[in-house]
Structure formats: C-alpha cells, structure tokens
C-alpha cells in the first residue's frame, strides 16, 4: 500500500512530529508509514485522512502486490 502522507504534510508545512502529535501516535509510526514499512490499521488511516480533510482513498492506495 502506498500513501501520499509526505506530500500532504508538505502542503500543510507539517513535520512528522506535528502529525504524530495531532493523531496521538509516535513519530516513528508516521515515519514507518511514509516509508511503506508499516501499513496502518483502518482506524489510523481514517484518522490521518480526517486530519487532511480528504477521503481515505486519496491518501492511501493499493499497489499491484497487495
């Protein structure tokens, strides 16, 4: 699963730590998600999408191997 968190973050001028604080997770989690090393739960994906005020599909999308 790939995601556009880094891009969305850049548009709002947020750091990983800012985003992590707002959602209530660790900075390492955001980093791991952005790098594609960790697939977040549906709950966490929805929280991230809500923060960026976009539908979850716009931020997260499936890849061929999923």
């Amino acid at each position: 699963m790939k995601n556009r968190i880094k891009v969305e973050r850049a548009e709002l001028d947020m750091t990983q730590a800012d985003l992590a604080d707002k959602i209530g997770v660790s900075r390492q989690s955001i980093n791991a998600i952005e790098k594609g090393k960790f697939v977040p739960s549906a709950v966490l994906a929805l929280k991230i999408a809500r923060l960026f005020k976009k539908p979850v599909e716009e931020i997260f999308s499936l890849e061929d191997q999923d």
């Binding site: 992590a20 997770v25 660790s26 390492q28 989690s29 791991a32 790098k35 966490l44």
Partner: protein, 157 residues
C-alpha cells in the same frame, strides 16, 4: 489501540533496574560456581528428590539455602517482564507490532541456539545451557525489541 495487559510506562525504569541487577548478580552466581554462603535463610522446599547435589529427600521440608540465586533469577524475570511488557511513552499500533515481531524473532532465535547447543554441548556443560536458557527468551526479546525501536528512531526522513 487495545493492549490491556501492558503495564503503565512508569514501571519501565524499575524494570530496567531489576533486569540489570538480576543479570549482574546472576552472572556472579554462575561464574562463582553457584556456591555462596551469603543470604542463607530457611526456605520451604516443596519437593526434593535428593541426589547428587545433596539435600533432604521428601516433600515440604524446611531447608537452609542461600537465596542469592533465587533473588537474581526473580530480578531477571520480573525486570525483564516489566521492560518488555510496559507501555512505551507513546504506545501505538506500530510499537505494538514491533513488540510482537520481536517476540516471534526471540522465540525462534532462542530455539535455534538451543538446538545448536543440544547437538554440540554435552555432559555437565549442558547444565549451563539449561540455566541460561531459562532467561534467554526474555533477554533476546528485550534486546531485539529495543534494537528495533532504536533503528526506527534513527531512521530519519
């Protein structure tokens, strides 16, 4: 994130103190040959089959025993459990996954090492393997978990 059997973060420091104290005193016990006269107290022995280490054969005897090794073992167990199974400062699903992955890794690694020693270590030396193996699953888990946390900490953007 549901993680109900994890204890609060505040116990982690205590866990580290006990764990390190246990490992050091445990090392002293092992390398000192298990034979110490300090901290001798009367303890209840539920069952003793006698044998080559001496002792009184039978059930529920009161015996005199140096409890240094018992204290060391309990420190490692309690300390290790606290270090491994208290919440992180920010506990979330990623940390939870790291913890689970570390547990799986530690169990597999521990039994690979044990299998190796079963094949290549014999006689009384295997006794040391048995002693170490009481604590290595916990030790490998704690090391692996903290290594993964450290790695993701330093894995910058």
């Amino acid at each position: 994130m549901k993680a109900s059997y994890l204890l609060p973060y505040k116990y982690k420091a205590l866990g580290w103190i006990l764990f390190v104290f246990g490992l050091i005193s445990g090392g002293i016990v092992v390398f000192g040959g298990y034979d110490f006269d300090i901290l001798k107290v009367n303890v209840i022995s539920i069952y003793d089959e006698g044998g080559f280490l001496g002792g009184t054969k039978g059930f529920f005897n009161i015996i005199e025993n140096s409890i240094l090794d018992e204290l060391a073992a309990l420190s490692i167990i309690v300390g290790g459990l606290l270090v491994g199974f208290t919440k992180e400062k920010v506990e979330d699903e990623f940390i939870y996954k790291l913890r689970n992955d570390s547990l799986v890794w530690a169990i597999i690694f521990n039994y690979l090492v044990l299998a190796f020693t079963v094949i290549f270590v014999y006689e009384f030396s295997f006794f040391h393997v048995l002693v170490f193996n009481m604590f290595t699953p916990l030790l490998f888990f704690v090391i692996r978990f903290n290594f993964l946390k450290f790695k993701s900490d330093n894995d910058e953007e």
